[in-house]
């Protein structure tokens, strides 16, 4: 077990190996790749939220000088009605194709219809203006309530609600229903002295990565194709693109560029298959870049939701029953993360009676994609708000109330397994003991507390560790590095090999020079790919022993390895000596780690937020913020803190300002960073990050993923702080000035 262990490299704040390139501008991101003869692809997008495409005429566009290719849905070879895994979810191939280039109906403002490849971006853009399309405009549905109404316009004539006792014969916008339950909520509510129930709304939000989607693709006449792109999972890009274009996996090489943020939003494909089609048809490499407007309108945001929560508790704070009804917008195609919402909503609590029902609903908005702990922030927001209200009404400190009901090792979850060792209690205690929690508040100020739970995932990762003849090594992994994970891989390999970190260089291999690895999502990389790195390092040690044994005429089990040296009796060899002599002992040394990691440890988080509200304008200022989270073991504490702080900032943005604004006819009206306002440096205080370490028993160093849990608590911590400051309940996000002012004025 790792508690007592002293580490030499793990836990240090090393300089990240890819840092130099990033601070000097040398690092190459999605849009930074150019190829000889390259042309530019641009996409024509729907001006309507819901319409039938009656006809498309590209004659004039194709006649424009410099236009080299046009791509449309018809260019997909026949697409099968099958499901492919990608990122933290999966998508139906037909839906995926239909989202990438609309078949006969456009389902949201910005839905891609066709693409044009031309000598320059300006010519491509000009050609798009020459395409003639006739639409039959239909009424859009923009909210789950409208979408679920009996007479609602239906997006998909062939969609029948799944998960009901009997599948309906009438098509509707309700894609699926699911429920999770344990115990008996009726009994639980009957035991309660107090019951609080409320409806909550959370708007459509965007991950807001600063780097737009971008790729460069080249389809070669011999059928070998290449895609360079910004993605969280280049193997998933390969799977989806190859399926859509009917290619064998070995015919498509996908290179992951450096990635400028993703947060779940870069786990699927939008441009890559289109660029390859344009490349095939033009015989030229093609570059495609979304502009910011496209990113907002047509990449995958996070679901808007309408959720109802009811919780009962005894006078002493014991929670007796928890119930929720969740409605998640999926966007234009089925597949919102409502199931994750159902599974996470109440998991911070050890309560015997729970019931959660969830609906996946399609609306005329872009198809949602994963967004950091997909589905969890919305449901947990509603739950945490009600828990806080109960604490208030009972006159119990909100942290004490949570401690009384906290999930811990052995707690039964609503989704099946019992929790293994987890650190919620430790996080709550750390928050309670923090200087922040002791600090006094002034007039018009309020404090909010909230907890958050995310499962984390494991999955497949592959690593090869190639030792060089001078005893240094190259770690080739397959998980795009989105936030400094190469630094963690380097430290874990250094620890395992007892070698200086700088002697080990981690790189992200393309789909041809490392075996399949699942994408960077689900907070899996440091955990799962880290385990593959450890395994590869152990494989190297094994071979170092074998080689030494051969030299000393011993057997491998007679050899010890420590701190970069093998030894047996008086014999000693350094890694450098063994590698230098490898040509005489069987050739160079490569360590392998190919795993399907199980045992990802959940990470609980607890946040504290202090705000001040200007009662005349409704403006909310965040005064102080503390994020506490269980990292299991922080391999590189700075980047763990960074995850806590970044998650907090995104969650604060979600709570205070961020939302998609639609006109009644379904036009997105704030598709830019000026009007979709993510937090600026001047909007935030320092964010105190407190790392709690309750080791994950299933990881050699105790690691838990830390990327996602941190975005969950800020919604309720911030919104509850606002409600404390104004003395009125808050239910709908965001707490933007007009919304907060309205709450104040409606209650004046």
């Amino acid at each position: 077990m790792s508690e007592a262990k002293q580490y030499k490299y793990i836990g240090t704040r090393s300089i990240r190996p890819d840092g130099y390139d990033k601070v000097t501008g040398r690092a190459n991101y999605g849009a930074d790749m150019s190829l000889p003869g390259m042309i530019w692809g641009k996409i024509l997008r729907s001006p309507h939220a819901h319409a039938k495409i009656k006809s498309i005429d590209t004659t004039k566009a194709e006649a424009l000088a410099g236009v080299l290719a046009v791509a449309s849905y018809a260019d997909f070879p026949s697409v099968a009605d099958e499901v492919v895994a990608s990122g933290e979810g999966s998508s139906n191939l037909l839906d995926l194709a239909n989202n990438i280039l609309a078949k006969d109906k456009v389902l949201y403002h910005g839905h891609a219809i066709l693409a044009i490849g031309a000598r320059t971006a300006a010519i491509a853009e000009q050609a798009l203006g020459l395409v003639e399309i006739e639409y039959e405009v239909l009424k859009p549905v923009l909210d789950v309530n409208d979408a679920m109404a009996a007479d609602a316009p239906v997006l998909h004539e062939n969609m029948f609600t799944q998960g009901l006792a009997e599948t309906p014969t009438k098509a509707s916008n309700i894609a699926a229903r699911q429920e999770f339950k344990m115990g008996d909520i009726e009994v639980g509510f009957a035991e309660a002295d107090i019951i609080v129930e409320r409806d909550f709304y959370t708007p459509t939000v965007h991950q807001g990565y600063i780097e737009p989607h971008a790729c460069t693709a080249s389809y070669d006449q011999d059928g070998q194709s290449m895609v360079w792109c910004s993605t969280q999972g280049h193997f998933d890009v390969r799977t989806s693109t190859a399926k859509l274009l009917n290619l064998n996996l070995n015919r498509l090489k996908v290179i992951a560029s450096e990635i400028g943020g993703g947060f779940g939003g870069k786990t699927t494909v939008y441009l890559e298959p289109v660029a390859l089609i344009l490349s095939r048809k033009s015989g030229r490499p093609v570059k495609m870049i979304m502009d910011r407007d496209d990113v907002f309108k047509a990449s995958g945001p996070g679901s808007a939701t309408r959720n109802w929560v009811k919780i009962g508790a005894k006078k002493d704070g014991t929670i007796t029953a928890m119930q929720a009804l969740l409605h998640y917008e999926a966007g234009a195609f089925k597949g919102s993360p409502v199931m994750m919402g159902c599974m996470t909503a109440f998991t911070p609590y050890a309560v015997p009676n729970m019931y959660v029902e969830g609906y996946d609903v399609v609306v005329n908005k872009p198809k949602v994609a994963a967004y950091r702990a997909p589905g969890a922030p919305q449901a947990e927001y509603a739950a945490e708000m009600v828990v806080n209200e109960i604490a208030d009404k009972l006159g119990i400190d909100p942290i004490d109330l949570r401690l009384k009901n906290a999930a811990k090792e052995g707690t039964q979850t609503i989704y099946g397994p019992k929790l293994k060792a987890v650190g919620l209690v430790e996080c709550l205690e750390a928050a309670k003991n923090s200087p922040h929690y002791q600090a006094a508040l002034k007039e018009n100020q309020g404090r909010g507390v909230a907890a958050g739970f995310w499962f984390n995932v494991g999955g497949q990762s592959s690593v090869t560790l190639n030792m060089n003849p001078d005893g240094t090594g190259t770690i080739v992994e397959g998980s795009p590095d989105i936030g400094g994970s190469r630094a963690s891989m380097q430290l874990m390999a250094a620890e395992e090999l007892g070698m200086p970190a700088e002697n080990l260089k981690p790189i992200i291999g393309d789909t041809e020079n490392v075996a399949f690895s699942a994408g960077t999502g689900g907070s899996r990389t440091t955990f799962a790919t880290g385990m593959a790195v450890i395994e590869a390092a152990q494989d190297v040690v094994r071979q170092l022993k074998e080689r030494s044994a051969a030299v000393w005429n011993l057997t491998a089990d007679q050899i010890e390895y420590q701190e970069g040296e093998t030894f047996s009796g008086d014999n000693r060899m350094t890694v450098a000596e063994i590698c230098a002599g490898a040509e005489r002992t069987g050739g160079q040394i490569t360590g392998r780690g190919n795993i399907n990691a199980r045992g990802a440890g959940p990470s609980f988080a607890v946040h504290l937020c202090d705000v001040e509200v200007d009662r005349d304008t409704g403006k909310v200022d965040v005064l102080r913020y503390t994020a506490v989270q269980d990292a299991g073991k922080a391999i590189h504490p700075s980047y763990v803190e960074g995850q806590l702080q970044g998650g907090a900032a995104q969650g604060i943005g979600w709570a205070l300002n961020e939302e998609y604004v639609y006109s009644a006819d379904g036009h997105m009206e704030n598709a830019g960073f000026l009007d979709y306002r993510i937090p600026l440096a001047s909007d935030l205080p320092m964010i105190d990050a407190i790392i709690v370490e309750v080791p994950n028993p299933f990881h050699p160093f105790g690691v838990r993923g830390v990327g996602e849990s941190g975005i969950i608590p800020p919604l309720a911590a911030t919104a509850y702080a606002v409600s404390q400051a104004i003395g009125l309940p808050i239910t709908d996000l965001p707490c933007s000035p007009p919304n907060v002012l309205k709450v104040i004025q409606d209650n004046a």
């Binding site: 601070v23 930074d32 300006a122 600063i210 936030g483 702080q645 970044g646 993510i678 600026l680 440096a681």
Partner: protein
């Protein structure tokens, strides 16, 4: 459309290029001159990823036309470090882990350099407001601000 001939200086080097009248300085830098260290996050002046200096003024290069570079002195991220020697600001960004994905970093380094030229001893609040035009979605700004203030202190000590 006829291309326009532009004479300029980039990071102290004389540079000539031809560009279309509608091309932005950002497009020229990235697509014509292969200076891809300057990033595009929005092309509308809202994110600061494209920050450069033109005649010592900090600007969003997506809001400047390529032809406006004529006769001007342009400074980009590629000119911040001295050959193989990182600038103190770059070093501090690395030490403080002030970047996660790093797409905002070139713009932030360029802006920070300008901030510290204008105000060698900024308060936290001054730094936050000066850098408010440089969006970072990954870090929550905490480590960026610490790096900036530490760089300021180090540079004052060295001056």
């Amino acid at each position: 459309m006829a291309k326009i001939h532009v004479n300029t200086s980039i990071n102290g080097e004389v540079v000539e290029f031809l560009c279309e009248p509608h091309e932005t300085l950002l497009d020229v830098l990235r697509n014509d001159l292969q200076l891809t260290g300057t990033k595009e996050g929005c092309a509308s002046g809202d994110c600061g990823a494209c920050s450069v200096t033109v005649n010592d003024a900090l600007v969003c290069s997506c809001l400047v036309l390529g032809v406006e570079a004529d006769g001007a002195e342009i400074g980009t991220i590629e000119g911040v470090s001295n050959k193989d020697q990182l600038h103190v600001i770059q070093q501090k960004f690395l030490e403080h882990a002030a970047l996660q994905c790093g797409i905002c970093t070139p713009g932030l380094v360029v802006s920070t350099k300008k901030l510290l030229e204008e105000n060698p001893n900024p308060t936290e609040e001054e730094a936050r407001y000066y850098l408010a035009g440089n969006l970072c979605r990954c870090t929550g700004y905490d480590k960026i601000i610490r790096a900036v203030l530490d760089a300021a202190e180090t540079m004052r000590g060295a001056a």
